[in-house]
Amino acid sequence: MNAHDILPLFVGIPLGAGFLLPVIALLWKKLVDILAVLAVLALVVMALCVIGAPSCIYKMGNWPPPFGVNLVLDPMSAMMVLIISGVSFAVTLYSVSYMTKFTSKPYYYSLLMLMIAGMNGVVLTGDLFNMYVFMEVGAIASYGLVAFGTEHEELEASFKYLVLGSLGSGFIIFGIALVYSNTGTLNMADMARIISAGGLNRLITFASALFLMGFGLKAAMVPFHAWLPDAHPSAPAPISAMLSGLLIKALGVYAIIRLFYHVFGLTPGSEYSYILMGLGLLSMVVGVILAVGQWDFKRLLAYHSISQMGYVMLGIGLGTPLGLLGGLFHLLNHSAFKSLLFLCAGSVEQSTGSRQLRELGGLCHRMPVTSATCSVASLSISGVPPFNGFWSKLIIIVAAVQAAFTTVPGTVQAGYIVIAAVTVLVSFLTLVSFVKVQKYSLFGALPDRLSGVREVSTVMCIAMIMLAVACIGLGVLSPFVLNGLVAPARDALMDGQSYIRLVLGG
């Protein structure tokens, strides 16, 4: 199949599923599970088809680019689509069994599908306002999903998330209005052409600050992170996995990468580069320090999400080819192991009824699959050698050291060395934190209260094993993944001119 022809289906299939599932549920309830899994499976197959396909654009309504909305498939979008489809498939499979303890399952699937549609829409679009619209689709679906249990904490977290998320959206659309007033276009490639020809003026700088605040709120960078530690643990486990594994990346980090690399033209040593690096460093340090003291399993994971996204932002902010490569690879790895960790936390919670680490213990005898996959993910996130987290962190550290020597040729920038040292330190603290998780939940003596604990259902185990295999595979086969998936994405991002040529032609 031609990559160009299937491009709109990435949004169309989940949208159609989301619209129809509540109606189908009235006719035949059992069908809903199957249809939801099939819809996401179709996305996975299509995502595999577009990997390695040549870059192309899809003109909605056949209008030439600056006049109509267009979809853009470049290696970066292809990578994001593959991540989204892969994790969504595992999560949907997991939900089939996990969500039976909640009511209104059809609405759950409908919201899940529309969230996937929103994320796919964001990563594929080439139009700034369209990105805002699909961001709202994904975000609003997630507000509903966080409150899905309708208990005190969930409603409170959802409200907090909704207010801060909408505030972020307000900043973003204010920025869009300012950029439109100055360039007269909404197409990102056209905008990049005009800005690169005319240079940044004060208005564009002001707008980019607004974008940074808005997307920073969505990505939970540190001064804007207040909602994440509440929202991510309160959601049902599969949704926590979606939020931490995908949503903050697709809505926050991807948008920042696309805008700052392609539209505003980030280069190493520019102000944008320093600001992004500063945000990344702050997120890394603050996130991990807050995480170390946590005893709530999911809350601990949520704080680690902030910290790990700091790594990604740091890599992106470096602006060098190696730094960007590390940042993108860590983005890919993080979505694999963090979703897996949240699914494991969900399994533990379902079996034992608790997620307080102090109340757990000895689960490795009772829940072998959960324990094994949880260990794999923990080793990955703390950066132990053969696993995937190690390679991406290594690349980021090497890139930081390299930048110390290359930013200003002939001199050594001590700041970059400090950054590399802090990165190593944060990685060590992450390891400490996950040793604690392993010790208190999986090993040690089994408390009497938990003597009747059983392994979770087979479907849930399959979902977790899939993600664990992905973690190991990304680690062991990292040279192939880097060459085949991440490096093309990196090259596409570094070459802004070819993006403009691809979209506008000529």
Binding site: P8, G12, L15, G16, F19, L20, G61
Partner: protein, 147 residues
């Protein structure tokens, strides 16, 4: 609670007709005059909300129930998507594949009219649905407080 006084009910009956006709007019002429699916659909939803307020929930739900609104919502949204997909027959998503007709006529501008109608139904159904959900929630709460 069975709604408001007979005067209000009688007036509502008259006005409901006007509101329906006016909102349908706004929807259908969206491509020629100001207005369109969203404005007209919201207006229509206001009409239904008036109906619920005037006649009370029980009587109003005999005319249109929340489940019907929900189904109409889903199907209208899907219709919009379907029109977009049908554009593939003429070369791509969202291609205006119907004949454009003569300007300033009601049936002109290809798919625009049908998309407006789909949006109008969708918006009215879902706003009515959300109002009803909010209203029902209050009732269930007070009844549980009474117990």
């Amino acid at each position: 609670m069975n709604g408001m006084s007979p005067i209000v009910k009688a007036t509502t009956k008259v006005f409901m007709g006007f509101i329906t006709v006016y909102s349908l007019n706004i929807i259908a002429y969206g491509h020629l005059t100001p207005g369109g699916g969203f404005a007209g659909g919201t207006m229509w939803a206001c009409g239904f909300i008036l109906l619920v307020l005037a006649f009370g929930k029980e009587d109003a739900f005999k005319i249109v129930s929340q489940r019907a609104a929900s189904v109409a919502d889903c199907l209208a949204a899907f219709t919009f998507l379907l029109v977009a997909i049908l554009g593939i027959s003429a070369g791509g998503f969202f291609v205006n594949f119907l004949s454009k007709g003569k300007e300033f006529n009601l049936v002109s501008a290809g798919t625009l009219l049908w998309l407006n109608i789909a949006i109008g139904i969708k918006v009215s159904a879902c706003l009515f649905g959300v109002f009803v959900a909010l209203a029902i929630f209050k009732r269930s709460k007070t009844s549980s407080e009474v117990q």
